[in-house]
Every structure is written in structure tokens, then in C-alpha cells.
């Protein structure tokens, strides 16, 4: 604790306490140097757009974005059922935002884990949600669940191999 005020606090006392706190702060911390505390030079709009464009091209041509570890695969095995359940719940509530968010996360996560079939179906779910095609969503969610169940033994085996490696 740096100070104490009794309530109700008259304004002059509050002012004095704030001044004390400010003085204490100034003396206990090194003065802010303008040169080192300046905002770092950021990238321009053009530079950022160029880097995004480059990344999109690389992403589209890469089959495997990263080499998933056993830990990452295990995490995917835990998280994917949660995202599938969120899509199901979103469909039950006719909540397209919830469906789109879950599909978006599942799509990215599946690409990391090398679950390409699940990623493709999650992309379709995302497109259907964005286009407000609610009628298409239930069968797509079922297809994503089946694709995940089919891939699960392979993923589990990858985790076990990684654990013993």
C-alpha cells in the first residue's frame, strides 16, 4: 500500500494523495526516455499488403504448413470434438455466427494436424454459414464428425508414436 484515504474524501485531500502517488511513481521509476519509449517504426500499408499476398500464395501452395508434434496432435484430438459440438449447438440454435466461428477455428486447427478432410468440410461449413445456407449445414456437420472419427485412430497412433519416440 502506498497511501490511505478515509471516506468520504474531500477533493483537496484526494488531489494531495494523487500528487503524492505521482511523485512516488516518478522517483521510483527511471524517467521515460523519448528515444527508447517511442513507438517502433511499423510497416506501411503497402508493405503489409505485400506480405499478406506473399503469405497467401505460399499457404495455397503448401501441402503441410507445419510438422505437427505429438503434443499438437493430442491438443487437436481434444479441441476438435469441442469445435464439432459448437457447430452442432450453433445449428440447433440457428446461430450462424457461432457456427462460422467454430468452423473457422476447426479449419485452421485441422490443417495444423494434417486432418485435411476435416479441414475441407469445415471450409464448406464456413462458406454455408457465411452464405446463410442453414439447410446445408446439418449434413456438413455430420460429414465433418465422420471424417474426424475416421481419422482419429491414425491421430492417436501418431500421438503414441511421438510419446515413445
Amino acid at each position: 500500500m502506498n497511501d490511505y484515504l478515509t471516506k468520504p474524501t474531500p477533493l483537496p485531500e484526494m488531489d494531495a494523495a494523487l500528487c503524492r502517488a505521482w511523485k512516488h511513481r516518478s522517483s521510483s521509476q527511471p524517467p521515460v526516455q523519448n528515444s527508447s519509449r517511442r513507438e517502433p517504426p511499423g510497416l506501411s500499408v503497402e508493405e503489409l499488403l505485400a506480405s499478406v499476398e506473399e503469405a497467401v500464395t505460399a499457404q495455397n501452395s503448401s501441402e503441410r504448413l507445419i510438422q505437427p508434434s505429438a503434443k499438437l496432435t493430442q491438443l487437436y484430438l481434444e479441441e476438435a470434438p469441442r469445435r464439432l459440438a459448437e457447430m452442432r449447438a450453433g445449428y440447433a440454435d440457428r446461430d450462424l455466427t457461432k457456427i462460422a466461428h467454430a468452423a473457422h477455428v476447426l479449419k485452421g486447427n485441422s490443417r495444423y494436424a494434417g486432418a485435411d478432410d476435416v479441414a475441407k468440410i469445415a471450409t464448406e461449413v464456413l462458406r454455408a454459414a457465411e452464405a446463410q445456407r442453414t439447410d446445408a449445414i446439418e449434413s456438413l456437420v455430420s460429414a465433418a464428425e465422420s471424417a474426424f472419427d475416421k481419422l482419429k485412430p491414425e491421430l492417436l497412433s501418431r500421438v503414441n508414436q511421438g510419446d515413445t519416440a
Binding site: 517502433p40 503469405a55 495444423y112
Partner: protein, 133 residues
């Protein structure tokens, strides 16, 4: 060396750490949202680099960035933003807030390391070739 990662998706955070393949002496702090990132920074963490997702609960990445740039004790931080968003409006908003880089999701290990390593090694922001030189 300290690195702060804020992203509500645990799989993405782990994928990013694996793509970065950081040395053992690098301390990585992970938080779930922008408010937790602000809390840990206000508690005194001084990371060499912050990597923030744009879409997060409570305080999102753009608001987090705006609040950091307004704070005299935090505004000097080097920040790389990440998102699956590719639209011009998002990029323009982020460019106005002095970011050191933008990582497109899902992460591609071949792109992540060349972008982050120069910033961590000597504070340099790698600059891609402009589309209109």
C-alpha cells in the same frame, strides 16, 4: 528473451510455438485474450516481442494494440499481429498502429521463422518488397 503470445485458440498458440522453434532460453508467456495480455504487461512483463491474434474475447487484438500505443510505458513494444483476415480494411487499421509484421493464419512454418527471427535477434523489422516500388 521474453515473448508474449495472446490468442484464445490453444492449438494455434502451440502451432505458433512449434513453427518458431525458439531457443530454450526464450521465455514464452501465453494468454487467452487481450485483457489478460494487458494485465500481464501492466504487472511489469517486458517482452522483446508480442504476438497478438486480431480476434479475441473480452479485449480484441485491435483494441489491445490501440491501448498499448496510447500508454507511454507500453507504446514502444514491438508487436506482430496474426489473423486469417486478408481484407484491406483490417490491414490499413493495423498499419496505422505501427505493427512490426503480420502473420497469416493458419501458420506456415516456412513464413513464420523468417519474419520473427530478425525481430527477436536484433529488433529489425523485415520489410517485404513493396507491390508498387
Amino acid at each position: 528473451m521474453k515473448l508474449l503470445i495472446a490468442d484464445d485458440d490453444k492449438v494455434s498458440r502451440t502451432a505458433l510455438r512449434e513453427a518458431l522453434a525458439l531457443p530454450a532460453d526464450c521465455d514464452v508467456y501465453e494468454v487467452d485474450d487481450g485483457q489478460a495480455a494487458l494485465d500481464i504487461l501492466c504487472d511489469g512483463l517486458k517482452p522483446e516481442l508480442c504476438i497478438f491474434d486480431v480476434k479475441m474475447p473480452r479485449v480484441d487484438g485491435v483494441e489491445l494494440l490501440q491501448r498499448i500505443r496510447r500508454d507511454p510505458h507500453l507504446k514502444h513494444l514491438k508487436i506482430v499481429m496474426t489473423s486469417a483476415a486478408r481484407d484491406r480494411d483490417t490491414i490499413i487499421t493495423l498499419a496505422k498502429l505501427q505493427i512490426s509484421g503480420y502473420l497469416l493464419k493458419p501458420y506456415d512454418a516456412a513464413k513464420v521463422k523468417p519474419l520473427i527471427q530478425p525481430i527477436l535477434a536484433n529488433g529489425e523489422t523485415p520489410r517485404p518488397a513493396s507491390r508498387n516500388p
